[in-house]
Amino acid sequence: MPFELALPDSCKPWKVKIFDNELLCEEPHVTIVFKTTRWRYSLRSRKMLDKQPDPKGVGDEILAEIRAKHDVLCREWDARFPTNPVTSAEEERS
């Protein structure tokens, strides 16, 4: 079951999700969903991952919710993807 961050009613129909199968070749992230558009937010750098779609399209309220629940999101990611945990940057250790 994907993890979906509980958002206040004022944020509907936005969603913030961690899927059960993700693009793991990139750093741990959450996906921000609004209708046909998706953005990705890095759980390591705490920044938006992509230049497109324009990160400014994500409302401050959504980002504030993500930042407030950062620890929960990291735990959920790590539980699903132990080979690519948020807190262990394999490349840096090599």
Binding site: F19, E22, T37, L49, Q52, G57, E61, R80, E91, S94
Partner: protein, 265 residues
Amino acid sequence: MNSVSETSASTYSRRVGHAGALTPIWVSSQEQAAEAAVSEDKHIVWIVKKPHLVDRVAYEIATVKTYKKGGYLVLLANARPAIIPPLERRFTAVAFASSVLPAEELQEVWSLPDRGERFIGGIVDESSTTLTLWRGNFESVTVPFGAFPPTGNGIRPDFKRFSVIEYGQTLKFGEYESDSEAILFEFAADFRRKLKQTRFAEDQGLGASIRRLRRQRRLSRNEFVNIDAKTIARIEQGKSKNPRAATLETIARVLGVQKKELASY
């Protein structure tokens, strides 16, 4: 402070109204089936659910002898092998699916310029343990069930409960959900090329490709038989400029691709 509704509305409006938009028509009568068989409108997607209406489309094609290519066809009914050739001759593309997006989402996806990066539906084949997915541009990708591994906390896909949701960007198998990009990255070379030109533009070398594929396969550097983890690290970091062919063969084999494909990831 950005308003959630304002920003979303502007993003949304920019993406609709694409010039090459396709229009879905759900075929629900014999008359519509006959129309589908002769229409030359290349921007219509005919969606047929009932087997007898699929038969009617095939019959009309044979009767009217229209050879000019029409639009697209999505079959939600089992198509017998005998009627597949006329359908494929008549339509620009034919998709076979057990499940497709809801009607309103299909219409939306077919109006988007990036529809090829979304899935409109698919069909599960439990005998071969594969899933064939149809992209919004009517190209298909067939993937093994193994492309949807269980999560670290034990969540597994239920292939009997397959559906496509969230405008073709999420594949759902009961409680399990997969980001469509994870599948496109592994199985669609054109999607990988696009990612390499955009997101991966600063990390283009063979080593970076190997690292991405290894991570996607959920493998550690210790899982390459006869190759030291430090050697894998040096290759991935571009410090080993000319890895031996045998080493690359082993890496490719462990990662489940051909050696010549490694650099595409």
